[in-house]
Amino acid sequence: MRLADARALVPDLVTTPGEPQADQRLIEAIADWCDRYTPWVAIDPLGGALAEEGAEACSAGGFGGDAGLLLDVTGCAHLFGPDEAGERALLADLVARLARHDFTCRAAMADTAGAAWALARYAERQADLFCPRHGQRDALASLPVEGLRLDAPILETFVKLGLRRIGDLYPLPRAPLARRFGDLPLTRLDQALGARDEVLEPRRAVPAFRTRLSFVEPIGRPEDIAAATSRLLAALCRQFEQAGVGARKLEIALYRVDGSVDRTSIGTSRPNRDNPKLMKLFEEKLGELDPGFGVELMILAAPEVEAWSGTQDVLPEAGTLALSLGSDGTIDLADRLALRLGPENVVRLLPRDSHLPERVQVAATVSSKPAADGAWKHLAGLKGARPTRLLQRPEPVDVTAFVPDDPPSVFHWRRHAHRIVRADGPERIADEWWRPRPDGSRPPANTVPPVRDYYRVEDDDGGRFWLFRDGPYKLAASGQPTARWFLHGFCA
C-alpha cells in the first residue's frame, strides 16, 4: 500500500522516514546479543525469519517487518534443560528476553534452517512454532509455498498451477519440476526437509574454546568484573590443558542488561595458557570495558589458539639470546607493551643482507624468530660507516658545491645552512637490479641501475650527516642538474 492510499484511509496517520542503515545496525546489535545463546549467529540474507537443527527463527516485525536472524543452537540447548525441554526453554527464554526489550518477534525451532524460517513466518498456531525432531515434513505440509524462500516469479507460477501448500509439492515427480523451474525449488525443499545441507555463515568466527558465566544479579563494579574474568580464565585454561593448546588471542564479551554487548580482546606473541599472565594482560584492557547499567552475562572465547609449545623455547639455543627472550618474562613484557601500544610498535630488529640502507634493518614483531648471535656484527662489518639514525624517508636538501662531483660545501636543510668542513665519500650504492621494483615490474636488461652516491659530512659544529646524490652529476637540456641531494641519516 502506498503512503497516499494509507493517508486517505487514516488521515491522522503518524509516519516516519525509513532508516535502512539504522535498521541494519539494530539487527546487528540484536545478533550480537544473540551470541549469548550460541556463537553461530547469522543475519538472514533474505531478510526473513530463520533457524535449524535445534535452531530458531526470530522475525522482528517493525523495521521492514522482514529482518531475521538464524541461530544454530546445536549443542547449546542443554544449558537450559535436557533434550527437548531445553530447546523449548531456550526458545521461550529468547522470546521473553526480546519482549522485555520491546521487540515483537516470532521464533521457531526446527531441525533445519529452512523449516524454522517457514514456521517463524507462516505457522498459524503458537504450538506449531516448535517443531519436534524429524517432524518438519508434517509441520511444513500445511504452510504456504512462500515459506520455501523462493523468488516471486516461481511463486506466482506455483499459485497459478494450484500448488498453494508446501505439502502439494511432496508427491510431484522431481525431474519435471526441476526442468520446469530450475534447481531452486527442489534445493529449497530439500534444505527445509533436511535432505540437503545448508550452511549458515556466522557473523563472527566461531571460537573453538569458550566459557560463559551468567549472574543472578547484574554486576557493574570493576573488581567484580575482574573476579569474573579470572574465573572464566581459569575454566578456559583447564580446557586448553586438556586440548594441549595455548591461546594466541582471547576475547571477552560483556552482555549488559540493556541488551548491548561490549567486547575487548588481548593477543599474545606465543601460545599461552598461563592463567596469571593472561590475567595480567586482561587487567590492562578491562578498564576500557563499560559495564553500563550492569552486566548479566560474560563470555570468554579464544578465537585463535595454537598447539602448546610448552617449555621448548627455553632451550638455551644460540647462547644468551634465546635465554634472554624466553623464560625471564621479556616475552610477557613485550605482550603487555604490544597490547597497549599496538603490535607494530613493539619490534625486534632483524638483519637483512641488502645493499640498500633502508632495507638492511627489518622491524619484526616479537613472535618472529630472533636474529642469530653475531649476525648483526657480521653484517655491520660488511658495510661502511653507517649513521646511528636513519630517516624513514630521505629529506631533500639544497646543496652548493664548488665542483659538481665534489662533496657539497654547504647544504640547507629545514631552513638551516650547514657549512661542510670535512667529508668522506662517495660510497656508491646501486639499486638491486635482481629484485623486482615496488610496482612488480623488473628493470629492463642491460641498463645501468639507478645509483646513489653517499657522503658522510661534518659541519663546522662537528655535527655529522649522511647525504646522498641520487645519480651521477649530469646537466639536463634546460641546464639544470638532473641529480638531487637528500639527507638520509645522522651520524654519531
Binding site: T330, P357, A385, L391, E458
Partner: protein, 291 residues
C-alpha cells in the same frame, strides 16, 4: 639574634658581629647535620641503588662517579647540548652515541634484552639504525618500542624496569615530568636495572637522576692536509653527579673521541686556557680504553 636560614643545608647567614657567639652552637650543628645527611644519602645510594656500578670505560670520568662508574638501579639523564657555535644542534647524534656507549657497557655486564622506548618527535622520524649501533652492542638484543604519547614512553620504561629479563632501559622523550621521573627512579632502584633518559634538547633537570650529562658534538680532526672525517669527538659535561666525588670545576667537562674502527672511547687531553699556543701530539697522551 642569629638568623636561621630557611634552607636547612645552606650555611646560616650570621651577622659578622654575632658570628663568634653563634659559632659555638650553630657551627658544629650545621656541619654535623650536613655530614649526617651526606652519610644518609650515601647509605641510601649504596643500599638501594643496587650497590653495583658499571664503569664508563673512561678512568678520568669514573674517578668522579660513585662506586667508580654509573650506578645501576638508577636514573641517568643524557641531553643533547648546543653546538660549539652556540646554535641549537641539528640532531642528537653525539648524545645518542654516548647513550649507545653506555648501553653497550650495561649490556656487556648483564645478559638480557635492551629496551629502547622512543616517541617520534617533530616532523621527521629517524629511528635508531642497527648497523651502526652494532659497534656498541648486539642489536639483536634490542626491543624497540614506539609510543605516540610521552606517558606511554614513561609507562613502557617503567614496565621494562620491573621485568627481570631486561639489562637496561633507554627512553627518548622531550617530556619533563617530575612524577614520572620519580617513578622511574624508584622502579630502577627496586630492580637494579639502569635507566637512561635521552633528550634531543636541553631540558629542565629531573631532580631524581643520579647523573646528568650534556653531550655536544665537537669538530673532529682530519688527517693533516686532507678534509676527511676523523674519529667522532664529543664534548661531555657532567652537570649533576649525585653521591659522586666533588670536582674542581663547577661543571666537569671533557672532550672525548669515539674511534669507530677500533671501537674505543678515549678522553682527549686539552690544553689549558691561555696556553693556546701549546701544541703537542695528542695521541701520546690519550688514555685509551678498549670498550
Amino acid at each position: 639574634m642569629p638568623v636561621i636560614s630557611p634552607s636547612a643545608f645552606a650555611p646560616p647567614v650570621v651577622p659578622r658581629a654575632t658570628a663568634q657567639a653563634a659559632n659555638d652552637t650553630a657551627g658544629p650543628v650545621s656541619t654535623s647535620l650536613r655530614e649526617k645527611v651526606r652519610r644518609l644519602e650515601r647509605a641510601h645510594s649504596v643500599q638501594h641503588a643496587g650497590k653495583a656500578a658499571v664503569p664508563t670505560g673512561l678512568p678520568t670520568i669514573d674517578a668522579l662517579l660513585p662506586e667508580g662508574g654509573l650506578l645501576t638501579g638508577a636514573l641517568h639523564e643524557i641531553e643533547a647540548g648546543p653546538a660549539p657555535s652556540g646554535r641549537v644542534a641539528a640532531h642528537d647524534g653525539a648524545a645518542l652515541g654516548f647513550a649507545a656507549h653506555l648501553m653497550g657497557r650495561f649490556a656487556a655486564r648483564t645478559p638480557g634484552t635492551l629496551l629502547w622506548c622512543r616517541r617520534p618527535s617533530g616532523v621527521f622520524d629517524a629511528p635508531p639504525y642497527a648497523p651502526a649501533l652494532a659497534a656498541w652492542f648486539d642489536p639483536a638484543r634490542l626491543l624497540v618500542v614506539t609510543a605516540r604519547r610521552d606517558e606511554d614512553v614513561f609507562w613502557a620504561m617503567e614496565e621494562g624496569l620491573r621485568c627481570p629479563g631486561i639489562a637496561a632501559v633507554l627512553g627518548e622523550t622531550r617530556a619533563t615530568d617530575a612524577t614520572s621521573g620519580r617513578r622511574l627512579s624508584l622502579a630502577a632502584e627496586k630492580s637494579g636495572v639502569p635507566a637512561l633518559l635521552l633528550r634531543p634538547q636541553p631540558a629542565p633537570p629531573q631532580s631524581v637522576c643520579v647523573t646528568r650529562w650534556r653531550i655536544a658534538s665537537a669538530p673532529s680532526r682530519s688527517t693533516p692536509g686532507l678534509h676527511d672525517i676523523g674519529a667522532a669527538r664529543w664534548r661531555l659535561e657532567l652537570r649533576r653527579n649525585r653521591f659522586g666525588a666533588p670536582s674542581i670545576a663547577e661543571i666537569p667537562s671533557w672532550l672525548v673521541e669515539w674511534n669507530d674502527e677500533t671501537h674505543c672511547l678515549a678522553v682527549v687531553p686539552e690544553t689549558l686556557h691561555g696556553s693556546a699556543g701549546a701544541r703537542f701530539d695528542e695521541s701520546l697522551f690519550e688514555e685509551r680504553m678498549v670498550s
